[in-house]
Amino acid sequence: MPQDRTQPAALDAVEVLIVEDEYYLADELRLIVEQAGGRVAGPFADAPSALAHLDRGRPACAVIDVNLGGTVSLEVADALVARAIPFMFLTGYDADALPIRFAGVERLEKPADLGAVLGKLRVLAGPPIDQAAAR
């Protein structure tokens, strides 16, 4: 898999939760997060295992699909909202297919550019304090 080496590793030690039931897509997400210096929670192919992880640890951010195993599941999204963990949808669904309460949630449509995904994750994970002061 070709890697974009020009990007600095900006997810240092940040834990990113990945919920995606397609193996190949999950594996790619894992790869870019790890290459960006982040740690991956998952990937998880179903909601129960993702929720179980959330009970144990606290990821900095998350990228999730809503169609898991053929059905739409919003349990993980709700759990993340409840824990105030920033997250993004990476899904084939249009924005209007999602409930209104998720209107403000970042969303990328498949097949998304992996760089764009990584960019959003960086924002979600939050910039270092000095970076924020520099802006």
């Binding site: 898999m1 193996y23 190949y24 897509l25 739409v72 899904t91 084939g92 449509e109 498949k110 097949p111």
Partner: protein
């Protein structure tokens, strides 16, 4: 009274001085005997005999009896020379008789005419001997004897004889007075009886030797009776009036005589001289009966005439009443009839009968029984009709309907009301009935039913929920479907505005009620869609249209409307929307997967041709799996078919392949992953494995088992006869990653692949649990809270 000096003639004292003759006892006895007999037999004439005896015995020339009658003396009996003076009346004070009565003692007078000028003079009396007689102590008269011969002079013996005979005169007088009193009394009774216009009769019984009454004999008859019977005293009743036996009158007389119980009876007596009605009272009198009989013939006739007049008047009224009734019956459109309860023959039948049944009335009335009528009744209705008539015969009122074959070819519907008509004794003599032509009513009813049925069917088929709301009374009617739409069983609740509101989804209630009120107020059509929530929690979408109607004061009176259940259409729309989303998701997902496959294929760094070949093979297999995933609902894939397809794609020689296992239908996701896995294995076998070597063999075996409550598939791919190139690139290839990583990740199964000395052995364990899918039918998954 002029005092007469009779001293010159009174020579009474001389008797004592005259010498007495010897008494003639024989003569005296004879005279007393005759007079005694006379007194017993004929008291009326004893005085005449007495006078005659004195003259015949030569005592005197004339003799007589003078009876006091007030101031007069009546010469009751006179015999001898003076007999011509019989019945003369002489004033008492101026007569020797009066003098004698006054003295109450015998007197002897010489030449009495000298003193009493009214004495008879021819022949003149020489001497008159006169003695008084008394009755009940009172002077009642005198007995006297006259000598017309101066030589015959009365002596003591004459006086003695005369005084003795005077006692007979007194007795005779008493007997006469008694007889007269009796006669007067009888006359009085007779007069009384005669005064009655009733017949009064007295009979005495005539008995035979055994004492049995065999006849009656007339004793008395009043004048009225006599005028009818004539003189009948002493005659036999049975001889004169044998009719009394026939009429029972004789028996009544007998009975009254024997028992003493009076009888009062009316007889219509047409015997002998009679022809009339009589009221007869009979009472016992001694050994017989007294009867009064009143002729009541006239009274009876008058009474009969009165009854006749009364009946005539009643008949006249009845006739007029019957005439009115007849006119009524003849004008009636309904058939009125009366049948004899026993024979069922018509006694009365109105002309409408012919119109209704097509049989002339006169013809119908000829035949007894029901047959003439029943012949016209449609056969299927006959028994029913007959049963009802029999019920009326048995005393019950009844109403029944039946069809009649009219000769004009058109059947009629008839409703008959039949009822029993009891006679005076309470038994059912007749049956009355009214036949009504209800054909038109029936037709209208039938058409109404058909129309209602049509509407009902249309409503049912169209699933229309209809309502009819009487706004003023609050009464609401719902069609069956309306109940169901609102979540009720049909008839489970009483339809009402409240029940309607209760059935509406709480979130839609306010808006729906507002829409209804707006339509009522603005007089617009009510058009509204809302959800109804059923008790099982299911939600139905209802589209309703309705319209109010108003009275002349502009108040809403009624609302009628129809509703349809839009749930399915709404769901279909929703499903379509979801499917569209799902399709987008799939397409985008598959593109992401394709991009990933491209990258992974490229990773392996073959030549461009190899890259294209690999990529085409993998995309081809991916395309085949998409058929499985987007195909028919619950479309599974047959495992053996997948194996054959993928092997065939590699132009496999099937003689070297052994497939063994039960029929297994794979759910979509499993089929997708397995297809790709088999594709990789088959491609590998063709390039390096069983099919790349002349002696290579492939055996694929699969079995099903259950583990931890789930069905599992175990598939074993076993190649043999392969000369494995030792030291081959051990890098993990696409196929290996798929089997060992993707299968566990996506299918929660296990994948193992080993390179043995004579070929590859791959084992896949996959749970066969179908994952839910938006595309697998049933309830679509929804991206919502409720979903």
């Amino acid at each position: 009274m002029t005092r007469i000096d009779i001293a010159a003639a009174d020579i009474t004292e001389e008797i004592a001085r005259r010498p007495d003759r010897a008494p003639d006892h024989a003569l005296e006895a004879r005279m007393v005997s005759v007079l005694a007999d006379e007194l017993a037999e004929r008291p009326d004439t004893v005085l005449s005999h007495l006078a005659a005896c004195l003259v015949e015995a030569g005592i005197g020339g004339s003799a007589g009896v003078t009876v006091c009658d007030g101031e007069q003396g009546i010469w009751e009996a006179v015999s001898g020379a003076w007999r011509g003076q019989l019945g003369a009346a002489i004033p008492m004070p101026h007569s020797p008789c009066g003098l004698t009565v006054e003295r109450d003692a015998p007197i002897l007078m010489a030449r009495p005419a000298d003193v009493f000028p009214n004495m008879p003079g021819d022949p003149a009396a020489a001497e008159l001997l006169i003695v008084p007689f008394r009755l009940d102590g009172t002077p009642a008269g005198t007995l006297w004897v006259v000598s017309h011969d101066a030589a015959r002079r009365f002596d003591g013996e004459d006086l003695r004889l005369l005084e003795r005979l005077a006692r007979f005169a007194a007795s005779a007088q008493r007997a006469r007075e008694r007889a007269r009193a009796l006669a007067r009394s009888r006359d009085l009774l007779q007069g009384t009886m005669d005064a009655s216009v009733d017949m009064i009769q007295v009979f005495e019984a005539v008995r035979d030797e055994a004492g049995e009454i065999v006849d009656f004999r007339w004793l008395l008859n009043n004048h009225t009776s006599e005028s009818r019977f004539g003189k009948v005293e002493g005659q036999s009743l049975l001889e004169r009036n044998p009719g009394v036996v026939i009429e029972g009158i004789f028996d009544i007389f007998k009975c009254v005589t024997e028992t003493g119980k009076p009888s009062l009876r009316e007889h219509h007596y047409i015997h002998e001289q009679f022809n009339g009605w009589f009221l007869q009272s009979v009472t016992r009198l001694n050994d017989g009966v007294a009867t009064t009989t009143k002729d009541i013939t006239e009274w009876k006739h008058a009474q009969a005439e009165l009854i006749r007049l009364r009946d005539e008047a009643a008949n006249d009224r009845l006739r007029r009443s019957e005439d009115r009734f007849r006119q009524f019956g003849e004008a009636s459109q309904d058939v009125l009839w009366i049948r004899d309860a026993a024979t069922l023959q018509w006694e009365y039948l109105t002309p409408a009968f012919q119109t209704l049944y097509g049989i002339p009335v006169a013809l119908a009335m000829l035949t007894p029984g029901l047959s003439r009528w029943l012949d016209r009744v449609v056969p299927g209705d006959r028994e029913h009709a007959r049963a009802h008539i029999e019920r009326a015969q048995g005393g019950g009122s009844t109403k029944f309907e039946y069809r009649v074959h009219h000769p004009d070819g058109e059947d009629r519907w008839v409703r008959t009301t039949a009822f029993p008509m009891p006679g005076a004794d309470g038994s059912i003599e007749r049956i009355g009935g009214i036949d009504q032509d209800i054909t038109r009513i029936k037709r209208a009813q039938h058409e109404l039913e058909e129309s209602e049925e049509r509407l009902r069917s249309a409503t049912e088929v169209g699933r229309l929920g209809l309502w009819d709301w009487n706004v003023r009374t609050g009464h609401v009617t719902w069609s069956d479907e309306h109940f169901r739409m609102q979540g009720y069983g049909v008839g489970e609740v009483v339809p009402s505005y409240k029940a309607w509101v209760a059935g509406i989804h709480p979130e839609d209630r306010t808006a729906t009620v507002a829409a209804l009120e707006a339509a009522m107020t603005n007089r617009t059509e009510y058009v509204h869609e809302f959800r109804s929530r059923h008790r099982d929690g299911s939600i139905r979408w209802i589209a309703a249209r309705g319209r109010f109607s108003y009275n002349e004061r502009g108040e809403p009176e009624r609302m009628v409307g129809a509703a349809i259940d839009l749930t399915e259409r709404r769901e279909a729309e929703e499903r379509q929307r979801l499917l569209l989303g799902e399709l987008q998701h799939r397409v985008r997902n598959i593109l992401a997967v394709v991009r990933s496959i491209v990258r992974r294929t490229h990773d392996q760094g073959q030549t461009a041709e190899e890259f294209v070949q690999h990529l085409e093979g993998r995309l081809g297999a991916l395309a085949r799996t998409q058929v499985l995933l987007t195909g028919a609902v619950d479309a599974g894939a047959d495992l053996e078919m997948i194996l054959r397809d993928e092997l065939a794609t590699q132009a496999t020689d099937f003689d070297r392949v052994k497939l063994e296992g039960p029929t297994v239908r794979l759910p979509g996701k499993q089929a997708e992953v397995l297809t790709l896995a088999i594709h990789e294995l088959a491609t590998n076998a063709m390039k390096y494995g069983a099919f790349a070597h002349a002696d290579g063999q492939l055996a694929v075996r699969w079995t099903l088992h259950v583990d931890t409550g789930q069905p599992w598939l175990r598939l074993e791919w076993h190649e043999s006869g392969v000369d494995m190139p030792w030291g081959q690139d051990k890098r993990e290839g696409f196929g290996t990653e798929l089997i060992t990583r993707r299968v566990p990740y996506e299918l929660r199964g296990k994948g193992r692949i080993e390179l043995l000395h004579d070929g590859i052995e791959c084992t896949l364990d996959i749970p066969l649990v179908a994952r839910p899918s938006i595309l697998s039918g049933g309830d679509p998954g929804r991206i919502s809270d409720q979903g």
